[in-house]
Amino acid sequence: MSRVPLPYGPKILELFRNPKNAGPMEDATVSATAGSPICGDVIAIYLKIGEGDVVERASFESYGCAANIATASLLTEMVRGRTLKEAWGISWRELTEELGGLPSIKFHCGTLAVGALRRAIRAYYEERPHPDWLPEEATLEERQALEAEELGERLSRRIGGEKG
């Protein structure tokens, strides 16, 4: 186990203090949530999708640490004006770099935000023809989101069990 460089970059602090695109979106085309309150990390992503599958607006909600809020906020800014194909291509690494870096212990915030976005994109195509750039298999970020949720389930069962 190596020493954990805990502090955040100034950009994270700024986005935490003044997040962009915060709040639910009444007229969202699609939305999705990822994460588990038991692990302390939940991100919801709302997308308004227009002509040519372009993201017209995006917003987020976040229950989680400062990095969680900042990554979700940044992601909604990054996808705006992009096509869904382009938005899909944003990896957690790219998101993290855009933030100025994240302490390794906070990497999951990046994967969770991207995981929620990709879930929303998949949801959008559920009722539409499957585009060829959209992989069948879950990507790294989606799998990580799922794992966090399963971990939450297990924790909840274990602690519940202990109490009982």
Binding site: L6, Y8, G9, P10, L13, F16, P37, G40, L155, I159
Partner: protein, 409 residues
């Protein structure tokens, strides 16, 4: 990776600052610092074991400090007090040292589930792998140890019991006297250790009256400098040293005594006990204003730990639907410094083991905020916190997709 300087610039200087994270670290009180200062270079900078003037001066200082702390703890002789470089070290020494010294008499060690990690992890990670049997005694929803379970756990094999006098996170004041009697009734040879770091100067605590065999107290927990603590070891209690090296006047920890820090610890103790009644009732009054004010003005909260039989400095509240690390940072931006039992601030996968031991679900523990007051704080500090906190909680709850979910608790 980051420039922390830039982070601090982005953070900015809050209009007012109220530091309530006394659990984790504390600014040294001004009078304490003044008392220590001459001992770094002008006075008594010698090694108390060496026969020359600076050595004798140092020896004198150490003896006076031992005597002062002996008096406050109610020990019989200054030889029963041992200066150790920290409470982490003192607790490790108490557990490992007593277990190893008594291993021929038995193998069972009993701790409560809500001990600090420097007790709990010593038992689980150091002693259990060395062949000791570790029994964890559960606590109730307010953190009081289950005396029946404790009584059942003590057998003839039991060599050591360690239960904190006051819990460091949720302020529960344990029925220590009953616990000691129960243990000694079933096995008079079992050594009883208590971490009294959060009891010293907060509640009446006297090793003689309680009948404990070992007790830890920490300097920084009473606004003294970090880097020194005291371990009381009653006469006849056997403890093995953990470390080897040149012995000074402190038989249980090798190395040269840290005179300036010892002076600081002594001064901090003196200030605490000069007006114990006044200090503790001041703390209790401020704490009650803070605790009741927050519980009243903010919806969907849970008080962690008891209302009665609670240390007078401790506030621990879960703000449901808020994640604690985010709240810590939000409050920091407003100059209110606290800590959280959230998994996120602990860099572990799990939230505070104390909160889960009292039955808090992880999502409840994630929203917990721990604050401690000291005699240094005033009503205006509490007013400021009461003004800032509701807005901080509201903003974070407003960002959350889990709205209202805290409500169903």
């Amino acid at each position: 990776m980051f420039s922390v300087e830039e982070l601090l610039k982005a953070h900015g200087e809050p209009e007012r600052e109220v530091y309530l994270d006394l659990e984790n670290s504390a600014p040294v009180a001004r009078e304490v610092l003044e008392a220590m200062l001459p001992y770094f270079a002008e006075r008594a900078y010698g090694n108390p074991s060496i026969t020359h003037k600076p050595g004798w001066m140092a020896y004198d200082v150490v003896q006076r400090a031992l005597e002062e702390i002996r008096r406050h703890l109610g020990a019989s002789r200054p030889e029963e007090i041992n200066f150790i470089p920290g409470a982490t070290e003192a607790n490790n020494l108490a557990l490992m040292g007593a277990a190893l010294a008594n291993r021929r008499r038995g193998r069972r060690i009993i701790v409560s589930r809500i001990e600090p990690l420097n007790v709990l992890h010593v038992a689980l990670n150091l002693l259990r792998p060395r062949g000791f049997e570790v029994v964890e005694v559960p606590v109730d929803g307010e953190g009081f140890i289950d005396l029946d379970a404790l009584g059942e756990a003590v057998n003839r094999e039991t060599i050591l019991v360690s239960i904190s006098a006051v819990n460091h996170e949720i302020g529960t004041i344990q029925p220590l006297r009953e616990a000691v009697e129960l243990v000694k009734d079933k096995n008079p040879d079992a050594v009883f250790h208590t971490d009294a770091s959060d009891a010293y100067g907060r509640i009446p605590f006297n090793v003689g009256e309680l009948g404990v065999d070992m007790a830890t107290v920490s300097s920084y927990k009473v606004l003294g400098p970090r880097g020194v603590a005291a371990l009381y070891v009653g006469e006849g209690v056997e403890v093995e040293r953990l470390l080897e090296g040149q012995l000074g006047t402190q038989r249980l920890w090798p190395g040269v005594e840290n005179v300036p820090l010892i002076v600081g610890f002594q001064k901090a103790s003196e200030l605490l006990f000069r007006d114990f009644e006044g200090n503790t009732s001041h703390m209790r009054r401020l704490r009650n204003r803070l605790m009741e004010g927050l519980l009243k003005s903010i919806p969907e909260t849970l008080l962690n730990g008891p209302r009665e039989r609670r240390a007078p400095d401790n506030v621990n509240i879960s703000f449901l639907g808020c994640e604690g690390e985010a709240l810590t940072i939000e409050l920091s931006l407003h100059g209110v410094y606290v800590s959280s039992g959230s998994a996120c601030t602990r860099r572990l996968l799990q939230p505070s083991h104390v909160l889960t031991a009292i039955g808090r679900r992880p999502e409840e523990a994630h929203g917990s905020i721990l604050m401690k007051v000291s005699r240094m704080y005033c009503d205006e500090d509490v007013d400021y916190v009461l003004r800032v906190l509701p807005g901080a909680v509201e903003r974070l709850r407003g960002l959350s997709p889990l709205k209202g979910e805290g409500g169903d608790v």
